[in-house]
């Protein structure tokens, strides 16, 4: 599924669009960056509470195409700058991590 379709379907707030035309094949939910580095699949949406630029660095390393920050947490400027520089989509939702993950799973039909 295209990232733009996922965003439209889920109604996530787009903080930084990244590459809207790219494919999203999976989701990964975690707040431990080492865990993300170890297990997050490529071309996935990374769902996290970690609203700082290290999340962007890790997404870039593993090839995640989008970061979804939950609980409407504030996005610091350096995180936004990093996401723009690395062309990683930065999304936000008011949902909690569980709800957001379930929604993404439902839309991607991976559950």
């Amino acid at each position: 599924m295209k990232l733009s379709e996922l965003i439209a379907s889920a109604g996530f707030e787009v903080i930084s669009p990244g590459n809207a035309a790219c494919e999203v094949v999976a989701g990964y939910t975690s707040d431990l960056l080492s865990d993300v580095m170890a297990h997050c699949p490529e071309d996935s949406i990374f769902i996290t509470v970690q609203n700082h630029k290290n999340s962007v660095a890790v997404s870039t390393l593993v090839g995640a195409v989008a970061i979804l920050v939950v609980h409407d947490r504030e996005i610091p400027k350096d995180m936004l700058d990093a996401a723009q520089a690395e062309n990683v989509a930065l999304l936000r939702t008011s949902k909690n991590q569980f709800e957001a993950s379930c929604l993404v799973a439902k839309i991607l039909s991976v559950s």
């Binding site: 431990l32 960056l33 080492s34 580095m37 170890a38 970690q50 700082h52 290290n54 390393l61």
Partner: protein
Amino acid sequence: METDAAPQPPPTPAMLQKTRGQTLPVDAHHQPLVLLELIQRLKVRDVMTQEIVSVQRHEPLWVAQAAMKDKHISGVPVVEEGRLFGLVSIEDIIRAVEGGYIAQPCGDYMTTKLVVLEDDMPLSFAVQYFDRFRFGRFPVLNRDRALVGIICQRDINRALLVELSAEFNRMEQTVAQINGHTAKIDANTYMLREFPVAKYDFENAGKAANVIKAAMIERKYPPKIVRRVAVAAYELEINLCVHSVGGVLSWQLSNGRSEVIAKDSGPGIADVEWACRDGTSTANEWIRSLGFGAGLGLVNVKRVSDEFEITSQLGSGTIVRSAVNIALEENK
């Protein structure tokens, strides 16, 4: 060539030939051709300093002294109407100060037995002359015996660095063109990068891993390999940032092997085996709130490495090596 102030006839080719290869610190049979070609192709005039600070014979020695101090140079040629008469070196000035004749004319105390270079000589001559005569600088004359420049070792260093850099750049581009879309891993691919990492500098943590990753992508290494190396680099970089008093992350690519080394100067790990276990960490709450310190870092590094080694001593420091065998992976 040596000159006795009054200009001598230019050296014959036989004379020049005689000096060739005597003291050049590179050997024509075993050194890269590009280097030999470079020091033959570059002429003394390409390298020398053309802005000459000079004095005249009638001027007192302290004028030469002031010029040296002012321009941070160690020798001043004595020139009149473009013709070189001698050279006042810092040694001459020291002798003049000791002997109390600093107010005497330069012409009376300058060095007149000079060794000079010609501007169209290859740079290899200058290199040889510096080795042979142990002077700090050589005046450079043109074919008409007029002083046109001064050359010192620093000029040579600078010119060689610029030229070698351009040469390497050209060679790298050629290699990239030859290899097309696939990086050929061979013994000739060599890179070394070092990144200092400061304690709690989260502002910059991760930058080294990014540079390494970008360098590998640029050279078209397989994405799987890039990810493994980048994960190891990132984890080790964060470890330096979180746990050490500061250190250096280095990355070396040679012989088809990538090696990331994190080296710090303390505080050291009391129980290395414990530290490498899944889920064990000494990180504080603040670090954990940033998503680090879950005790997965070293486990991750180990997992992505073909070779993993950690040595540590409490009170001194820790060295972690993570090697990925690129050639092996490519052949799989």
